[in-house]
């Protein structure tokens, strides 16, 4: 999984986001998925097929709760030859 954040560099910390905080938030989301039979053990995937497309969307939603505005892009690799991306369309920038 790749998570992209975007924003202004904080003048006091020199950071866009605190990486430890980002690790903690991402880790919490992944904990809910890791070593799970998704379609049985994770409620979202009892309603939605656990495809790469839907996993990316689910992760976006969970991360958004913690990261908020700064979250701009989520990418989930399924194999080394396929991956899925989920992000908000913005009119002035076609792609992050």
């Amino acid at each position: 999984m790749q998570v992209r954040v975007s924003g202004e560099i904080d003048s006091e910390t020199g950071m866009v986001v605190n990486l430890e905080e980002l690790d903690r938030l991402s880790g919490r989301v992944l904990e809910g998925l890791d070593h799970k039979r998704l379609d049985v053990e994770v409620p979202y995937f009892t309603e939605n097929q656990p495809t790469g497309e839907n996993i990316a969307k689910y992760i976006w939603g969970r991360l958004k709760e913690g990261i908020g505005e700064s979250l701009v892009h989520v990418s989930v690799g399924e194999t080394k030859n396929s991956y899925f991306e989920y992000f908000e369309e913005v009119s002035y920038l076609d792609e992050y």
Binding site: E53, S82, E85, E88
Partner: protein, 142 residues
């Protein structure tokens, strides 16, 4: 709020090419293309990434079935894999098979094959010539 949903599939192929502009002198070709102008061509192991954008089907949870995309990519790559592009692939009879031009040719082929249905259409062609060099080709409707 609109969200972009992209799916990317990667596939490798091998091909050879020669950079040569027939309208130029040998000196000019050598000057511009260097070693790539050699008369016998040279080869690369390319990696093609096809990215599709669309809507996630409620019933399947998919934008496109990855196996279906794999079949399409294999079919297209038949005309590229283990070919000397300058001579074996008709697209390059008059077009120098640079990575840029190969990506552009592939855009047209995949755009046609995938169709322009907004729920599943071509978003980007990314072609790696080596690990260190790739070309992105997209055509964006204004």
């Amino acid at each position: 709020m609109a969200f972009k949903k992209l799916l990317t599939k990667r596939m490798e192929f091998s091909a050879s090419h020669r950079y040569w502009n027939p309208g130029w002198s040998e000196e000019r070709n050598k000057e511009v293309f260097g070693k790539a102008s050699g008369p016998h061509g040279h080869g690369h192991n390319y990696t093609l990434e096809i990215t599709v954008e669309g809507e996630v089907d409620k019933e399947t949870g998919m934008i496109i079935n990855l196996y279906q995309l794999k079949v399409i990519m294999k079919e297209v790559l038949n005309d590229f894999d283990h070919k000397y592009l300058n001579e074996d692939n008709p697209h390059f009879k008059e077009l120098i098979p640079t990575t840029e031009n190969i990506a552009a040719v592939m855009w047209d082929i995949f755009y046609e094959k995938l169709g322009s249905n907004p729920s599943c259409k071509l978003y980007r062609v990314r072609l790696y010539e080596t690990d260190e060099l790739y070309v992105d080709y997209r055509r964006v409707e204004q």
